[in-house]
Symmetry: D2
Subunit: 338 residues, 4 copies
Amino acid sequence: MSEMPVFGAGIWHFATYKDRYATDGYGPPVGLLEQIDKAGAVGDLSVVDLNWPFADFGGSLDDVKAALERNQLRAVAITPEIYNRDYVKGSITNPDPAVRAQALKLLNEATELAKELGCDYVKLWFGQDGWDYPFQVDYHDIWKLAVDGLRELVGAHPEIKFVIEYKPREPRNKIIFPNAARTLIAIQQVGLDNLGILLDFGHSIYGLETPADAAQLCIDAGRLFAIDVNDNFRGWDDDMVVGSVHLVETFEFFYTLRKNNWDGVWQLDQFPFREDSVEAAKAAIRFLKALHGALDALDEQALREAQASHDALAAQRLVQDVLLSSMARMTESQDVNA
Amino acid sequence: MSEMPVFGAGIWHFATYKDRYATDGYGPPVGLLEQIDKAGAVGDLSVVDLNWPFADFGGSLDDVKAALERNQLRAVAITPEIYNRDYVKGSITNPDPAVRAQALKLLNEATELAKELGCDYVKLWFGQDGWDYPFQVDYHDIWKLAVDGLRELVGAHPEIKFVIEYKPREPRNKIIFPNAARTLIAIQQVGLDNLGILLDFGHSIYGLETPADAAQLCIDAGRLFAIDVNDNFRGWDDDMVVGSVHLVETFEFFYTLRKNNWDGVWQLDQFPFREDSVEAAKAAIRFLKALHGALDALDEQALREAQASHDALAAQRLVQDVLLSSMARMTESQDVNA
Amino acid sequence: MSEMPVFGAGIWHFATYKDRYATDGYGPPVGLLEQIDKAGAVGDLSVVDLNWPFADFGGSLDDVKAALERNQLRAVAITPEIYNRDYVKGSITNPDPAVRAQALKLLNEATELAKELGCDYVKLWFGQDGWDYPFQVDYHDIWKLAVDGLRELVGAHPEIKFVIEYKPREPRNKIIFPNAARTLIAIQQVGLDNLGILLDFGHSIYGLETPADAAQLCIDAGRLFAIDVNDNFRGWDDDMVVGSVHLVETFEFFYTLRKNNWDGVWQLDQFPFREDSVEAAKAAIRFLKALHGALDALDEQALREAQASHDALAAQRLVQDVLLSSMARMTESQDVNA
Amino acid sequence: MSEMPVFGAGIWHFATYKDRYATDGYGPPVGLLEQIDKAGAVGDLSVVDLNWPFADFGGSLDDVKAALERNQLRAVAITPEIYNRDYVKGSITNPDPAVRAQALKLLNEATELAKELGCDYVKLWFGQDGWDYPFQVDYHDIWKLAVDGLRELVGAHPEIKFVIEYKPREPRNKIIFPNAARTLIAIQQVGLDNLGILLDFGHSIYGLETPADAAQLCIDAGRLFAIDVNDNFRGWDDDMVVGSVHLVETFEFFYTLRKNNWDGVWQLDQFPFREDSVEAAKAAIRFLKALHGALDALDEQALREAQASHDALAAQRLVQDVLLSSMARMTESQDVNA
């Protein structure tokens, strides 16, 4: 069996959530250090992505570092919170120049923290940058603000990578970076090598993309810097546990990564609103390990031949052979190891 | 011009909101009395639908009554909050019998309040009753809990009406009452005359229904007890201002109500996350008044003839004639009145 | 291992297709007898559903019977073609009474043929009965025509079953029987015991239903007379090969059928536009056999316990254990038999 | 009032259609010359887009030219039929090199015809180039074939423009050019000035884009060579009559074109399956003329101010003022002219 990938998770996976109905939350608040301890309790996670500013956190950065260390976790990324109350009409595309400046200040500070923590990248998710209504914005102007803001931020920190996590919508009805191709155009206009894409499988699949195709496009452009996985019902970002619905397309996504020798973190972006967060992460990783074994077992040569003639049935047969044996294979392998 | 309808709104229209990203809210909290004052400030609203328990409210019921009175508002309905933390896995369908009992207790108390306030109905919105994952629930069992719970509640209060507000999803990935037909089946199984439907235009349109057709179905069954209006992009419950996107279908919806002599409240269920709530209500009512005038101007006889041969083009022409003159007509009418 | 189900297919599975672009077809025409021979060549099919009138067929009914016999196939159903040129504005709901009469005549003749062939049911698919544009029809009137037409047809043939195959849309933008609940309401209004539902998995899943839940609803009403399976990307009736996308939900669908001791035909409704039709059927049945074995292996007791507390993660684990071992299990079982 | 735009239509607007159910067509066939005469009968059309090879046409090119002339029509474009039986697995991305060569031959011939007819551009619609199933194709390889094929074709004809009409899906489940951004990336990789985009409003809106935003993106890249309009229910390419559903977004689309001084043809791509084709075109143009008048009346300065602060409500009010008076305005203007 080939070497296991590095598994990671957004630290928010271990928080509790609010929404517009359950405004008192889906459970009692979980503090940052407790979130980190829960991430550690999963057992297979090596890295986490941290929101910043640390929400409702009274401790010091050393407390955070200690919590990471005792759980053998590394901060792979910082996700600046440019989508809360101050930024509900946008961060770098906010119509108010003062808010744009405030957003850039926050982004710069988050970047300094990322450097200090030795992160691989700063994650930019522009969930509030976009529009809700027809005729609300001038599309030329808002796009220019986005590209200019990115250039200013990313250009100021050549020593660390930045990734844009695109998403079709939510919380804005339309987000300015909705899919891979549009985001690549922005990256090209920014013109800096340290800006790339974080491809979230769920965002891709409900945004009408084929995630494996979107990944290939980003890889061919040299810009697939990171990925997140989760699942949904193809109409919204449900952030369900990986492998709940789209088993074949998740498998195809990871097949495409392997085929291109992409070796980044297999990272979870799940929102287990009503589930135990540690168990939800374990369930995801159990499935991902089964997928990983299925990749080892896949007859890649035969698959390439099927694809050379666009033979869908032959390809599906090869895939089902290994995917629908993957859990049996894992169990056997564990028996052998036991 | 025919008499104007009674306009109403859910009181939450005048609150501020949270979601899973902007957990600190889209603005500073607005207390209940202030919400009522804002509803009054709209100028055209006669009734409001009140959530209960009153959120973060330290005052007395008399305070609420006084606030309503000073704004010349009447409570048309109570919406019990059976979708917050205690009920995230369901209210009357919760797997835990203790939670089901707690939900029923809350529902009964809310009903008593509705009676005391002279409301027309209690609104039941089962946003947390449903499922998120394949294989999560036994569909027979959960449906039976829903019907039994409804019968117990509604049967205990024959002197007041209850309405189910159906919705395809959110916050649960799948809600147990997703559309009009399914809800009518439940109502039939419950077998009580005082249980009907609140049809939310937005829920209907993003649930793949034709709202006017759903309204007709409910009317023919004698169960269209109330309606809400708003708008969306047909993929989610965006709760946008009425008339933002689906002008023709909104017009058809109200045409169907008039054709059937349905004379209930024209009620707003909008969530102006980033807009001034009073202005958002005014914008909606301005459009609804224009629609109302267009209904007066519509050549109903000619429309019925077009429909008798399913002549879409003739019908569209008649509709455009009045809809695309509706604002001009309103302006003229106001000039005359001035 | 439990006994295998009876497998069937719509005979159109083995035809070639046209659409609005490839008006010259996705391949050379395949005559009816050749279609039947192809169905026979699959090897696992026992029954077929036949369109009528037989398209472009110059032979006799005896020719058809002989072809069925030599392929050891039985006609399980007749599907009357009430959706071609004569009926593009509807069959039993057509605005023209003469066309409605013509449709009923065709339906009655098709029913006589179904009786002569010993079919289990006549399948009614009202793909052209509905509307395309807002304001095109009077929803009350069109619904009444549908219910009255059904009553006249079904009431005239108490000795055979009829099924309505519901579908959200295509070819009409909106079809009058779009989902299970709405169809059950029609059936109830018709008030005859020999009218039920054919639930097409693909129609259900792209119509926002949970197919297993829709099946349970129909079963609880005593009206699940038949099923079809296929797959799609949840936005359109792609009629892809079973098991291409929604493995878990397909499994849940068949689990629900077994749990309720439903023992009808497992029937394919696939449109292999660009694939070899015999191979497409074989691929589907291979997957369905794996599913069938997975049902045998599933720990039903444990699943019921997980569902009793709505424990999605426990349920998913049990499902993945058997689904993701299903192909390995089938291979082993065949080795043993060899 | 500003000068009216040039109106055009795809000639297929005046044909009859088939689909996978009504394989005998939605009406009797309409020959090419009759289609052209119907286009002429609309009265407001100046240009048409012609499919080639001319379907079921026994006449000469001179016959076509004469028909155009007698109807005062010009051929604005040729649309080569690279999506019928020979190309159901793709044209320039077909897995078979012989089919790719055949497609290029057809495309070159179509281009020569376009030059001879003095067309503005050749329209490339790759409806069969893509995939249906997960794992069916190698995404890197198919994309390369697309870009290389485009470069070979477009590079050979520098004296005429080519446009790619992107579309998310249909007939392939996934089309290789699904949206504006992805298509712009291909155009950039091709690297030739005479290759641009035809933006179809309906494709854009059901592909999750905001059409006005997509138009702005293409304009800013200097690549918006042509547009088509129609309407749909945002889930499929229904090709309904313009103005049936999305009035506001259609208005915003044309506002964006005017704002950028884009002065191309306002072209119809409608499929009136069950409607009179001449009347369907007239209905569309009637609405478009009303929109055109509304653009004249719009307070652009006030709108820009509203957009400068992302004030959705102010923008909607300005838009409703003119859109919902547009038919009254047109009627008055015609009275004046009469």
